[in-house]
């Protein structure tokens, strides 16, 4: 059984349909890239996958012992976070909150676990630094470490390279790719960057108001829609 199955999902808000007939499934270890223009319903789909919003029709089910609250989410930066006085450690630890139950504070083991995630992402040395003083790439790593604290199974990344320079962007993609390959974490990434999607992902979901494509990336680049987009973005590497 797949980790995540969307069947006949229609999404929208205030009664208006944004995208319909979404059918796809994500298996453990997949790297799915969701692409599509602005307004195609990408962010609505993210909310639905996270269980923050109900689809207008259809069902989203999780399987293989994955609960919908076990999807590690890497959100886009909000305005509030840009000048937030918090240390890296505090933010990474907050990813463990869902494992606390009724306990008000974090245990020693949890702090140790958070430290391991920071080491995994090479930000352990920043542990007591202030979040707002970090570079864009470092901030993304902090939020990624927090997401890893929340889950070891599936990551949902919303435009993880937005606003990063080319060098840091590449590093970020390599990092995500290694989490997928070496640690076996399922990755769902929403992106504008079709070139990178084709390079790193194993599956592509291209949505517009109706889904244009879902399948393996090898098949995607052969389709007309895939061709027209990859060429428009500067072709393959």
């Amino acid at each position: 059984m797949a980790q995540l199955i969307c069947s006949d999902v229609t999404l929208g808000y205030e009664g208006k349909t944004v995208t319909e007939n979404l059918n796809f499934e994500v298996n453990a270890g997949d790297y799915l890239c969701i692409v599509g223009e602005n307004g195609a319903g990408k962010s609505t789909l993210i909310k639905a996958l996270l269980g923050l919003k109900n689809p207008m029709s259809g069902t989203i089910t999780t399987g293989e012992r994955l609960k919908s609250t076990e999807i590690g989410y890497l959100p886009q930066q909000t305005l509030i976070q840009k000048d937030f006085p918090a240390s890296v450690k505090e933010i990474v630890l907050s990813g463990l909150l869902n494992k606390c139950g009724l306990r008000p504070f974090y245990t020693k083991e949890q702090k140790e676990f958070a430290k391991k995630q920071m080491e995994r992402l090479n930000i352990a040395h920043l542990s007591s630094k202030c979040y707002r003083e970090l570079s864009g790439g470092q901030q993304q790593r902090v939020l990624l470490a927090r997401a890893l604290c929340a889950t070891g199974k599936m990551l949902l990344l919303d435009e993880p390279v937005a606003g990063l320079d080319p060098k840091v962007t590449k590093e970020m993609y390599e990092l995500i790719s290694s989490l997928n390959k070496e640690d076996g974490i399922t990755v769902i990434m929403v992106s504008h960057d079709i070139t990178a999607a084709v390079k790193y992902a194993s599956h592509i979901l291209h949505i517009s108001h109706t889904p244009l494509f879902f399948g393996k990336k090898e098949d995607y680049i052969k389709t007309d829609i895939g061709k027209s987009f990859t060429e428009a973005m500067g072709g393959e590497e």
Partner: protein
């Protein structure tokens, strides 16, 4: 030495002791929540909710209720929930709905007081509600006990839910997505905020509550870089400023609220200078 002797003499009075206890507790509670409110971009909530409380007090006065709290507390709590917990789904956005509610209750409250008031000195009453100039020096035993009980509850809630309050403040979406009931904690923050503001009206009056909520938090944020340190520093700054303010106002017979705010401003400037280095 004469000043210290005079101060000692004042400290023997029960009303001065009451004022100090209540002042410190209110300052502590409002600064704890202040950090969260400022970071959530709700700096004006103190001002807005205290105006709602003012409107509610006017209504309570007209209805002839002996204990105004019975009406004022629930109305303010509801207003806080509407503003803070309803969140992003409402048609009129955060700051606009806050401004609307604030101005409306202030206006209606004053209008009602003018039409129905039995007291001959309406503007005097209004002035003391808004600026709290003498209220804190005329606290009853009941006021003091109520304030102590409420403050202890607020502080316990804050300590117990500290990690959750941090998570909800920093990133509501992530917190909700990973299975923590973010809306529940937003509700909790809203209710506690309303309780503190109604209590704080006794100390500094309606107009100056914002200062108690925002200044300590902003001062602490200039210098410290982790959430925990900011919270602790804000609490310390708030308590020290309020203590000094109350003592100075008693010695120099200045209005309590404005004196505290003046000291808060000075401390903020000092912290801003330290933070720039």
């Amino acid at each position: 030495m004469a000043i210290i002797e005079k101060l000692w003499q004042y400290l023997q009075f029960e009303f001065v002791q009451n004022a100090l206890v209540v002042g410190v507790l209110i300052a502590l509670c409002s600064s704890l929540l202040g950090v969260t409110l400022v970071l959530k971009r709700f700096s004006f909530i103190g001002d807005g909710l205290s105006h709602v409380a003012f409107g509610a007090m006017a209504v309570a006065g007209i209805l002839g209720l002996t204990n105004e709290m019975i009406l004022v507390m629930p109305i303010t709590v509801i207003a806080a929930i509407v503003l803070l917990a309803a969140g992003k789904n409402v048609k009129i956005k955060g700051d606009a709905s806050l401004a609307m509610l604030s101005v409306a209750s202030l206006g209606i409250g004053y209008l009602l007081l003018n039409i129905f008031s039995s007291s001959g000195n309406v503007s005097g009453d209004v002035c003391s509600t808004l600026f709290g100039s003498t209220l804190i020096l005329t606290l009853s035993k009941f006021d003091v006990c109520l304030c102590i009980v409420m403050s202890v509850i607020v502080i316990l809630i804050f300590v117990f839910f500290y990690n959750r309050i941090f998570a909800v403040t920093f990133d509501e979406t992530f917190t909700a997505a990973t299975g923590t009931k973010a809306s529940l904690y937003n509700l909790l923050i809203a209710v506690v905020t309303a309780v503190i503001i109604v209590l704080a009206m006794n100390l500094v009056g309606s107009l100056l509550i914002s200062a108690l909520v925002i200044f300590p938090a902003l001062s602490a944020m200039r210098v410290f870089k982790s959430f925990k340190k900011v919270v602790i520093c804000a609490a310390a700054v708030s308590v020290i400023c309020s203590l000094t303010g109350i003592l100075i106002s008693i010695m120099a017979s200045t209005p309590v609220g404005s004196t505290i705010v003046a000291i808060d401003i000075v401390v903020f400037m000092i912290f801003a200078l330290i933070g720039r280095r």
